[in-house]
Amino acid sequence: MTANMQKKILAAGAAALFAISTAAAQQTTAIMNGAVHTVTNGVIENGDVIIEDGRIVQVGADLSPPAGATVVDATGKVVTPGIFAPISTIGIEEIGLDAEANDSSPERGAGFPLGAALDAVDAYRPMSTLIPVNRAGGVTRALSAPAPGDSIFAGRAAVIDLSGRPNSVTKARAAQIVVLNYSGAARAGDTRMGSWAFVRQYLDEARAYAANPDDYARRPRDDRFTLYDLEALGPVVAGNQPLMAYVYGESDLRNLIRLKNEYRLRVIAVGASEGWRAAASLAAANIPVIVDPLANLPAQFEDLRSTLENTARLHAAGVEIAFINPQEFGAHNLRLLTQQAGNAVAEGLPYDAAIAALTLNPARMFGLDAQFGSLEPGKIADVVIWDGDPLEVTTRPEAVFIDGVRQGLGNRQQMLMQRYRDLSRGDLPHAYRGGEN
C-alpha cells in the first residue's frame, strides 16, 4: 500500500474502519479478458482488472499480469464490482420467527425503552450462515440495520463486508433508521400526526442535548429524553449521519423533504413506492431512494400508486436509486438484488443505471464511494466474476473477491444439497456424508 493511498483512506473518516487482511496484502490477482463493468468508466469488452494488496491497481484492456500474479481467465464472463446491499438485517437475524436467533429488533409491545441508541454492531455475528449464502450470490458489502421495535427510531446501522471474518465491520454507525410510513404511525398513537411530531420532538431534544450535554443531563428525569438515544442522534442532527427513513407514500415523502430542509439533515428514503409522484422534488432535495422495483400492488392505503415504472421514473428525474431486497427488513436473500435490478431494467431502467444502483450508489449513500462501488484504480477490490449477465436469473458468480481476497463460495445450502443428492441408503447414513467444512 502506498503512503498516498493510506492518506486517502484516513481522509475517508475516522469512523471508517478498513481491515484489509494480511492475506490480501500478499495476493496479486489478474482478472483477464472479461466484460468489465467499471460503473464509472463504461464497459470494457475484453477488459482486465489487476488487484494488488487488496486494492484495484489497474483496469483496462490488454494489460499484462504482474509477475507472480494469480491469473483468472474471465473470457466470456462479466466482471462487476461486488454487490452492495443498501439495507438488510444481515448478521443480526438468523431465523426470522425464532426470537433467540433474531436480534434485529426489540420485541413489539414489550416496552423496551431504547430506540435510536441501538447499534447493529453489538448484535452483528460474522458467523451467520446468511453471509456465505449471500456471498455466493455476489454480495460483498451490506448495510446491517436494526428493524424497529416500539420506537419509531430503530437504531444505528453498520456497513459490513461479507467475508465472515471476526472484524468485518467496514463502517459502524453509518446510518440511523426511522420508520415514518404507516408502520411508524402505528408506533405513535396510530396516526401520522403522532409519528411526525415524535420525530421532530426527538430531533429538537437531540439538538438541545448536543448544544450542551451537561446542562441537558442535569434536567430532572421526567423533563428529558433518554440520553443514550439523544447521543445517538447527535451525528444525525449535525448532518453527518444519514437518517434512513422508511417512507412509502407521496405525502410522507413530501413531509420527509420538509424535515430534511428544516433540520438540515442527510436523508435516505427507503421504500418510496410512490416516489415517482414526488420524483422531481426528491431529486431537487438530493434525497437518494432505496426502492423495491417489484412493488406494484395497492398494498396499503399509503401507496396505492405503486407501479413497476417507479424505479425508471425516479432515475429519469435524476434521483439516485438503489434496490431494497424483496424481504425489506430481511437478509436471507440479498442474493436476489440482481433479480430486482433485472426486473427494473425490464421495466425501463437503463442497464448501466441498474448496475450502479447495485454497487456505486449504495456506497455513495454511506459516504464510501471513494473506496467501493466501481472498478477503478485505488478502490478496494470487491469484485465479482459472473458466468453471464449478472442481472439474469440464470446467472451465478464464479468468483467473488472481498478486499482482494478470493472468497469461498461454499455454504450450508450447498453442503445440504451435496449430502442429499444421492438418496440411496449407502454404507452409512446421510449424517455421515458430505457436510465437511
Binding site: N296, L304, T307, E392
Partner: protein, 489 residues
C-alpha cells in the same frame, strides 16, 4: 337443501377419480345409487357460473412452443379455435383456417397458461388491512368447515397483476395456522363480479392442512396442539371422527336403498344423519373427492404424513412449501406426491432453514418426481416463470438434465395435475382449454414479459392494448394514478 345426484357430479369428479387411480371405483359405486331419493348433502352448493368470453380463431405461428408435456417445438404453431386448443405442431404443418387471426410468433415463446397452486389472492387482498384480512380462520386447530371461496374478494387487484404475469388458473387456499385450514377453491383468472363467476368449472375441491411450526405456535397457549406430536394426535383424532361420520352416511344410504327396494309399507324411511360441515369435508377426502394440500416444510414430517394418509386411507396430492423435499424426494416420488416449492425463499422460520436452490430439480430428477413452483405471494405470482428459471438453472449447474421444455411443467402441467384439472388445462394439447401465454422471449429470463394471455381462447390480457387490461373497482378513481402499465401496473 338442494338435492344433488351422483350422476350429475360424475362428470365433475372424473378428473379427480381418474387421477387417483383406484379411487375411481368408489365413485362408480356411488354413481350406481343415482336414482335414490335419499338425502344427499349438496357437494356443489355455490356452483361455478364461469363462462368463457368470446374468442377468435387464432393461429400463433413461427414461435418457440413449450407444450408442457416435455416437448419443445421450434418454429412451431398453436391454433386456438372455439376456446380450445385445436392443433399444436410445426409451424408449416398447421394452416390458418379462413378468418383466423394470425400472430407472427417470430422470436416469441408460447406456453400453457401459468398455474399457481398456492395463492391467497382474494382472501388476503390488496390493500392489506384488518378489514380485508380473510385468509386464516385462527379460532380452532380444525376449521375444515370453512371454504376459501367464501372469503375471496373478486376485486383484489392482485388478480390483474397475476394475469399480466401469465397466470390463467390458481388455487386459493386458506392459511396455515390450523391443522385443518379448510377447503380451497380453484379459480380461472378471469375477473368477475362474484367468486362463482371465477370458479374453475368442475375442479375438485381441496383441503388445506398444515404441519409443523404454525399450528403449535398459534395454539400452544390456546389449548393445543403445543407440539408436533400434538399436531399428529389432532390429525388422527379428526380422521377417526371423519371415518365414523362417513360410515354413518354410507350406512344411511345403504339402509335407504334397502328400504326403497322393499315394500316400504310397514316402516318409515330411515332418517338421514345430521350434517356437520367440518366432517363433511373430511369425509369428502376419505371418499377421494377432495384433494389434500399439505403445508409441510420438513422432510421427516412429510414422510410421517404419508403414513398418516395410509393409516386413514386417503392421498396427499402435494406438499406445499416443502423446503426439505430434496431430503425425501424418493419417498415423495414413490407415493406420487408433488412438492410445491419456492425457488429460494428460506430462513423466515427454523423449519425453512434447510432450503436449497436445487430443491425443485432434485425432486424432478426422481423417476416419477413431480416438482411444482408456487408463489404464496401476490408479488411472486407475477413472475413464476422467473422462479422456475432460477430453480432450473440451479439444477443444471449440478448436472440435472432440465431444459425449459421440462421446467415449464413446474408452473403449468404439474400444478394442474395436483389440482385435478390436468385433463382440462395445463398443457398445449388439442382439445384442452385454450389457456395460453405468448411471451416476448424465452420466459426463463428476467427480461421476459407475457404479451398476450388467452383464457379459454379469449384474449384477457394484451400488454400492448389497454382495452385488454382489467382494472379492479378499488383502483379506479384513485387520484394520481397515471401509470401506463395496465393490469401489470
Amino acid at each position: 337443501m338442494r338435492k344433488w345426484t351422483w350422476a350429475a357430479l360424475a362428470v365433475v369428479l372424473l378428473g379427480a377419480c381418474a387421477r387417483q387411480g383406484g379411487d375411481g371405483a368408489a365413485g362408480a359405486d356411488q354413481a350406481a345409487t343415482a336414482d335414490s331419493d335419499a338425502v344427499r348433502p349438496p357437494t356443489d352448493p355455490y356452483p361455478s357460473i364461469y363462462e368463457a368470453y368470446p374468442s377468435q380463431t387464432v393461429l400463433i405461428s413461427g414461435a418457440t412452443v413449450l407444450t408442457g408435456t416435455g416437448e419443445r417445438i421450434d418454429e412451431g404453431a398453436v391454433l386456438l379455435e372455439d376456446g380450445k386448443i385445436a392443433a399444436v405442431g410445426a409451424g408449416d404443418a398447421i394452416q390458418a383456417p379462413e378468418g383466423a387471426t394470425v400472430i407472427d410468433g417470430a422470436g416469441k415463446w408460447v406456453t400453457p397458461g401459468v398455474i399457481d397452486i398456492h395463492s391467497h389472492l382474494g382472501d388476503y387482498p390488496s390493500p392489506q388491512t384488518e378489514s380485508t384480512s380473510d385468509g386464516n380462520e385462527i379460532v380452532s386447530p380444525n376449521t375444515a368447515y370453512v371454504w376459501a371461496e367464501h372469503s375471496v374478494w373478486p376485486q383484489d387487484a392482485g388478480f390483474t397483476r397475476a394475469l399480466a404475469g401469465g397466470v390463467t388458473s390458481l388455487l386459493i387456499l386458506p392459511g396455515s395456522a390450523n391443522l385443518f385450514g379448510g377447503r380451497s377453491v380453484t379459480l380461472k383468472n378471469v375477473p368477475a363480479r362474484t367468486v362463482q363467476g371465477m370458479k374453475f368449472p368442475g375442479a375438485p375441491y381441496g383441503l388445506k392442512m398444515a404441519c409443523g411450526e404454525n399450528p403449535k405456535r398459534v395454539y400452544g397457549d390456546r389449548g393445543g396442539p403445543d407440539t408436533r406430536m400434538g399436531n399428529f394426535a389432532g390429525y388422527r383424532a379428526a380422521w377417526i371422527e371423519a371415518a365414523a361420520y362417513k360410515k354413518k352416511w354410507d350406512d344411511y344410504w345403504k339402509d335407504y336403498d334397502e328400504w326403497a327396494q322393499g315394500d316400504g309399507e310397514d316402516k318409515d324411511a330411515p332418517e338421514a344423519p345430521t350434517r356437520d360441515l367440518k366432517l363433511e369435508t373430511l369425509a369428502g377426502v376419505l371418499s377421494g373427492d377432495i384433494l389434500v394440500h399439505m403445508h409441510c416444510y420438513r422432510g421427516d414430517e412429510m414422510v410421517l404424513v404419508l403414513d398418516l394418509a395410509e393409516e386413514f386411507g386417503y392421498e396427499v396430492v402435494a406438499f406445499h412449501h416443502a423446503t426439505e423435499a430434496y431430503k425425501v424426494a424418493d419417498y415423495l416420488a414413490e407415493n406420487g406426491v408433488c412438492a410445491a416449492v419456492w425457488a429460494d425463499w428460506w430462513g423466515f422460520k427454523l423449519e425453512a432453514y434447510d432450503t436449497v436452490t436445487e430443491n425443485a430439480a432434485l425432486v424432478h430428477a426422481q423417476p416419477n418426481g413431480c416438482a411444482v413452483i408456487h408463489s404464496d405471494s401476490a408479488i411472486g405470482i407475477q413472475r413464476l416463470n422467473q422462479e422456475a428459471a432460477k430453480a432450473m438453472a440451479a439444477g443444471r449447474r449440478i448436472g440435472v438434465d432440465i431444459e425449459p421444455k421440462d421446467a415449464i411443467a413446474w408452473i403449468t402441467a404439474n400444478p394442474a395435475k395436483a389440482m385435478g384439472i390436468l385433463d382440462r388445462t395445463g398443457t398445449l394439447e388439442a382439445g384442452k382449454m385454450a389457456d395460453v401465454v405468448v411471451w416476448n422471449r424465452n420466459p426463463f429470463s428476467v427480461y421476459a414479459k407475457a404479451e398476450k394471455v388467452y383464457i379459454d381462447g379469449a384474449l384477457m390480457y394484451d400488454r400492448a392494448d389497454p382495452a385488454r387490461s382489467p382494472r379492479m373497482d378499488f383502483e379506479i378513481g384513485q387520484p394520481g394514478n397515471d401509470f401506463t402499465g395496465g393490469a401489470g401496473q
